[in-house]
Amino acid sequence: MREQGRSDRGASIFMLAISLFLLIGASAVAVDIAAIWLDRSTDQKVTDAAATAGVLAAVQTGGQAGCEAALNYVAVNTPDLTSVDTSVCSDFAGACTTSETVVARGVTAGRYEITVVHPVDDLNDLMTSRIVSRTPQDLVEDDGVPCERLGVKMQSTRNSLFAQVIGFNSGTTTVHTVAKRIEGDERPPLNLIVLDRTGCNVISVNGGGQIIAEPVVDDVNSRLVPGLIIADSDGSECSGSNGVINVSGAGSVIRADGPAGCGLGGGAYTYDGYPAEEGCGRIQVLAPGTPGCNLPACSVSGGGNEPFPQPSPLGRLYTRQSADWKYNCYSDYTNPPDPGTTWAADPLTTTNQQDIKPCENTATDAPHIYNLIDFVGPASDGKPDSTFRYWRADLGHSCNPSGVIPPINQNVVIDCTTLQITTGTSVTINGKVVFNRNVTVNGSLTINPPAGETWNWVFFRGGRMSKGGSGQIAFNDAMVYMAKGSDVKLTGGSGSLIWTAPTSGDFADLALWSDSTATQDWSGQAGLDLRGIFFMPLATASYSGTGGQIQTDAQWLAWRLEVGGGAVLKIAPSEGGLKARDDRTILIR
């Protein structure tokens, strides 16, 4: 009975105290854990934004820029950070190669530790996900190559707000993202690329010459696309007062036009039915000194006009890749197959070839240029096949014909020291043509596709193609290949030059592929019609002399370009021409 009368009040208070302690403790832990989970969610999105921004900058400008961009995007997207020290990014300087040692640098900002990794090699913890103690992750084909990947790891430590009372002082979370560069679907057309990597005056306009990159009509979207001029030179050879782009002499102009409305005050005009405006295109230079016309990117002297618009940063190296991919597709440009001859242009081991990334479309595209070189072979190989016949003096064909020669409806190997087509002489060949050596045209030379075919090629094994002022040359629907040692000397005047690329076949839109390193001289003509891609990646293209301009749809890629003597070089790419890169990103880890 005495037991039944004992009070439980003390036990209730004790139980209440214990319950309250547990309840408050659990609530405190719940609040702090929720905060840490919110951190984790936020941090993941921060690293996503940082990695995508960083990889774009890395592939366009270099590893240092990629690191800086990544850290800057961490700073702007993290609520309690105002800035991040980017000085560690200098360790990322230099071009990225797949063999380069991975650079990973960390920086502490506030309660965060941020690590940037570039390139991200296949076995890096960020790729295998060992960083978060997961089962090692296999690579997949879409993971790309290390130099096109950039990783960001972010570790945040949050001090507990309430839970310290139960010994839970802080919590740490780690997240990471790896982003990869991919090719986008909006590749703008290019008007002009000069490929010299280090030179000065690589685009030189003097003596009243003009380079005008016209806008391009985008029929699909019913709009104009801005004209685009690109100089790959970093300007490291520039000294004194000359820049990568140099405009000198009164009346000299370099200009890129585009759709009206850019607000630069250029002259308005109508282009193919669309409102266009001078200066609304883009001029981009890799060398420092942009935006604006400053050394070493740009110089103006002797009364030349400032480039219009002002040059802007290129941010990436373009290389000759787009042409090689389209017409000479290889899976490995650093160790290409041997064409089997030593005479030819040796096009696959020439300057800068090593910078061309593997062609992505080897399953559907082919090395058409290599195949053509292999098919034609050197002069010592004679005729490429039995469909060809020789044109040479010892076989009764004059190398200095006169009068109007009846059309030759056959494939021909012209084996004259110099085929002289004099004034008043007219030669028409309806077939494929191989020139072993020189041809000089003061009369008329016309080359058409073989009967029943829609496209053609003309092959220069060596020698010079020259044209007098009154000469007339017409390459209709033809791709002209010029081996190393070949060159063109096309004097301007009252004559004409009609040179149109095929519109179909292996060389669609390609008017000229030259592996020559000799200067290629072009001039204004009374009748000038150039259509297609003029690819001279190892040669200086020199364009001079005034003449009537009916040139359209031409796209120029050269080692260097000089325009002078009052010449006006208007460049507008054909619809099927080469396109600029379009860098996009995806998240792969």
């Binding site: 309840l23 609530s27 999105k45 934004a49 995508t52 921004a53 995007y73 997207n77 703008p188």
Partner: protein, 144 residues
């Protein structure tokens, strides 16, 4: 005893409303990030249609937290390269105008999204309104 009970109620209600606020913050933050990533690769002219598309992505990702009737609802979408932004504030949509959503010190072509809403932290006997804000910046990847 009554005092302890009051404390307990305050604590429980406070924890619940704080948890709701955490969830709302997470939602509008997720909305801002999703919309910024979407906008970074969205093609087309930067016009009212472009802004509306991005804004709808943010709204859908917010799972009701950025609907027009939500207290303090605010969505700002800015395309920095074109210099335009558009704001929806309390369900009222302004026309596209010059400006950014917030200064960020960057220079390259990029997009900004800022989402906001107001939430109430309630402790049974008193409450306080808190404005939740989530900014997101992403590099614009389309050709300029």
């Amino acid at each position: 005893m009554a005092f302890i009970f009051s404390l307990l109620v305050m604590l429980l209600v406070g924890v619940v409303t704080s948890a709701i606020a955490f969830g709302q913050k997470n939602s509008i933050e997720n909305a801002a990030r999703e919309a910024s990533r979407y906008a970074a690769t969205l093609p087309g002219a930067i016009d009212a249609t472009w802004f509306a598309t991005v804004r709808n992505v943010a709204r859908e990702a917010a799972q009701g937290n950025l609907d027009p009737g939500v207290d303090g609802q605010y969505i700002c979408v800015a395309h920095i390269n074109s210099g335009l932004r558009q704001v929806e504030d309390g369900g009222v949509l302004s026309p596209p105008e010059s400006g950014m959503c917030y200064p960020d010190g960057l220079t390259e072509s990029r997009v900004q999204i800022e989402t906001r809403r107001v939430t109430e932290i309630n402790a049974a006997f008193f409450s306080v309104d808190v404005t939740l804000r989530a900014p997101a910046t992403a590099r614009y990847e389309r050709a300029e």
